[in-house]
């Protein structure tokens, strides 16, 4: 039987000439990206009016596969780069797509301040509990006791609950899903893209290569099974009650959806006043 080369249904958003991608078999990044692309498609977002900014990491490579204005910046700096871009181009949709280490370790300060300012942007964070790209080191999201290449005896550090950090910092939209929840994840991304202000979606995603195999989930499927058995949907709960623990339930859902003036709107008003 001949295998016919097929186009991906989302090719119009992709740089097909950059495929094959670098990601491992069983990695959740393809699913996360796919949900994003379907969200774009269903919202009918004009690719010429969208900019995607990434930091560094396996997730950070997403920008490079997208056929839009896309920026692969330095480790941790996607959000401030996107801040400048969005202020210069207020009519464009600006999305930051990056990893948990990138956004919450080296870039943590930028995250909380962009949320505090209510910068008009959507931040999609792929949380795979570790630094995938550099070989599976401890991240600020690694659950306690989990083994990584720099916590060989088990993690001693309390992890961040990213949704709690986002909400406490001022994000107007906060949701968490896993790569198992493709439909709900896509819907959340759509809501986030439509939201004015700082919207945040955490995407729990398997990293079998760097994290799973050291933590009794050697394949992507093992992690997906875990998501299936342990995910509990609790919309609207206080995200401080949604900590992630090894062996425990994973609380998913939409936690925050509020209105607040955005930094961009206020800058615009200020300029109008100052010019009079």
């Amino acid at each position: 039987m001949e295998i016919e080369a097929k186009h991906h249904p989302m090719d119009k958003y992709l740089r097909a000439d950059r495929i094959p991608h670098i990601w491992c078999p069983g990695c959740g990044l393809g699913t996360a990206l796919n949900c994003f692309l379907y969200a774009l498609e269903e919202l009918n977002i004009d690719p010429d009016n969208l900019a995607v900014v990434s930091g560094i990491g396996c997730t950070g490579r997403i920008a490079g596969y997208l056929n839009v204005d896309s920026y692969h910046t330095t480790h941790g700096r996607a959000i401030p780069f996107a801040t400048g871009l969005k202020l210069a181009k207020p009519d464009m949709k600006v999305v930051v797509f990056s990893g948990d280490g990138d956004l919450f370790a080296i870039g943590g300060n930028h995250f909380i301040h962009a949320a505090r300012r209510n910068m008009d942007m959507t931040v999609l964070c792929v949380n795979n509990y570790n630094y995938g790209m550099t070989g599976g080191q401890l991240a600020p999201t690694t659950p306690m006791e989990a083994r990584t290449t720099t916590s060989p005896y088990g993690n001693l550090e309390h992890p961040f609950n990213l949704c709690h950090v986002a909400a406490a910092s001022g994000a107007v939209y906060v949701a968490r899903w896993t790569t198992l929840h493709v439909r709900r994840l896509k819907e959340s991304i759509k809501e986030a893209l439509n939201k004015k202000g700082f919207s945040f979606v955490e995407i729990l995603s398997p990293c079998p290569t760097a994290y799973g195999r050291r933590n009794r989930s050697p394949t992507g499927l093992d992690m997906m099974k875990y998501y299936q058995e342990h995910s509990v949907i609790k919309h609207g709960i206080d995200p401080s009650e949604a900590d992630i623990e090894i062996g425990g339930d994973i609380i998913v859902g939409k936690f925050v959806d509020i209105e607040k003036p955005t930094f961009n709107e206020m800058v615009k008003e200020l300029i109008e006043k100052a010019r009079k």
């Binding site: 330095t74 400048g84 181009k89 800058v267 010019r275």
Partner: protein, 380 residues
């Protein structure tokens, strides 16, 4: 429109120069002795439709001006030593991604927190290669508020023309000094805009250089769908992280677009060169004391010249090569323990390059420099 005469500090003059050059975005983080630039811009920019944002640190400030530059605006930040160190990361990204922007560094005495309110000139080398890897950029150094105005405009023009982060290497004394500044009418100020692609998006290769080695730049939202990365990339902008040939081609071009255009960036004030036996080399505030000392020495019959560098990087190598044989001795005057001195030595040869350092916190007096001129001149 009329010419105006203002009474500006160096910091305010730099801010006004930026606005005259078309700067419409400023992101910064307060630090002495540069804070007045941020304060002034926060008031002034909105009046001309520009955007000011105070970021959470200098890492963010530098990243934000790159992002806004890709959004099509002319952008600037201002800082001093400790902040300049933090900016190095994304100055490197700016060099690699060929992003026009201006970084003002009002030098204070270092290292580290050093003497926050007092003058230094210790960031000469950092402004050249403070970020990692091979690259070149441009650094200008004003000696007066007037030059803070003029050279900031020039910094924007060079940044736009060569698509490179351009440093304005000021110092605390020049920044806080008030002097008369002549502001020409807007239509008399030369303002350069980055070259835009003239081909359709399907035909556009975002990192394919034009004849001057600089690629035309398509910004966000213009339909060109550019991918911009700090990874080694080919002319399409696509990462090529395992091909040494792509790396060589890119790095050569990033360096050569500056090195080989050095003559167009060259800017110096040269005094009394004709019969000179000794040439002083200085920049920024120390060049003013040097000038006073040189003039006094001339009156006393010493054949002394002054070379005041307004463009420090790229260093005018060709010029120094040319004068190397005509001048017996060189004397570098700078507020550090030897930085520009090494560059002069590298170009004219060791042994005849003398140095008058100052360690920061104070400016050389003309008397000190005059004494050193006599010492060098008389060979003792």
């Amino acid at each position: 429109m009329k010419m105006e005469v203002k009474f500006y500090s160096g910091n305010v003059a730099a801010a006004e120069g930026a606005i005259a050059a078309g700067c419409r975005f400023f992101a910064g983080y307060p630090i002495t002795p540069s804070s007045e630039i941020a304060e002034y811009m926060s008031r002034r920019l909105p009046q001309v439709g520009g955007i000011f944002v105070q970021m959470e640190d200098e890492l963010a400030s530098m990243a934000a001006i790159l992002g806004a530059s890709w959004g099509g605006l002319k952008t600037m930040t201002a800082t001093s030593g400790p902040g300049f160190s933090l900016m190095q990361e994304n100055i490197g990204l700016g060099a690699m991604t060929e992003t026009p922007c201006v970084v003002v560094n009002v030098q204070r005495a270092g290292p580290s927190t050093g003497m926050p309110t007092l003058v230094g000139q210790g960031d000469v080398m950092q402004s050249r290669w403070g970020s990692h890897g091979d690259y070149e950029l441009i650094a200008l150094s004003p000696s007066s508020p007037q030059e803070c105005f003029d050279l900031t405009i020039r910094a924007f023009n060079l940044a736009e023309e060569y698509r490179v982060p351009t440093m304005l290497l000021m110092d605390e004394s020049t920044a806080h000094m008030y002097e008369k500044v002549v502001v020409p009418p807007a239509d008399k100020i030369k303002v350069v805009e980055r070259k835009r692609p003239r081909v359709a998006p399907e035909k556009y290769l975002p990192f394919k250089p034009a004849r001057n080695m600089v690629p035309p730049m398509a910004c966000a939202g213009e339909g060109y769908r550019v991918h911009v990365t700090g990874l080694t990339h080919d002319e399409r902008g696509y990462p090529q992280t395992t091909d040494p040939e792509v790396q060589e081609k890119l790095v050569r071009r990033l360096c050569d677009k500056i090195r080989k255009n050095e003559r167009k960036m060259r800017d110096m004030e040269i005094l009394h060169m004709d019969d000179a036996e000794l040439a002083l080399i200085s920049f920024g505030i120390s060049a003013r004391s040097s000038k006073a000392a040189v003039n006094r020495a001339r009156k006393k019959g010493y054949k002394v010249a002054l070379i005041r560098l307004k463009t420090i990087w790229p260093f005018p190598e060709e010029y120094f090569e040319k004068i190397a044989d005509d001048i017996k001795n060189f004397l570098v005057v700078e507020i550090n323990y030897g930085q520009l001195k090494y560059e002069v030595e590298r170009n004219v040869g060791k042994g005849r390059v003398h140095h008058l350092p100052k360690f920061g916190g104070a400016v050389h007096t003309p008397e000190e420099i005059y004494a050193k001129i006599k010492e060098v001149y008389n060979g003792n």
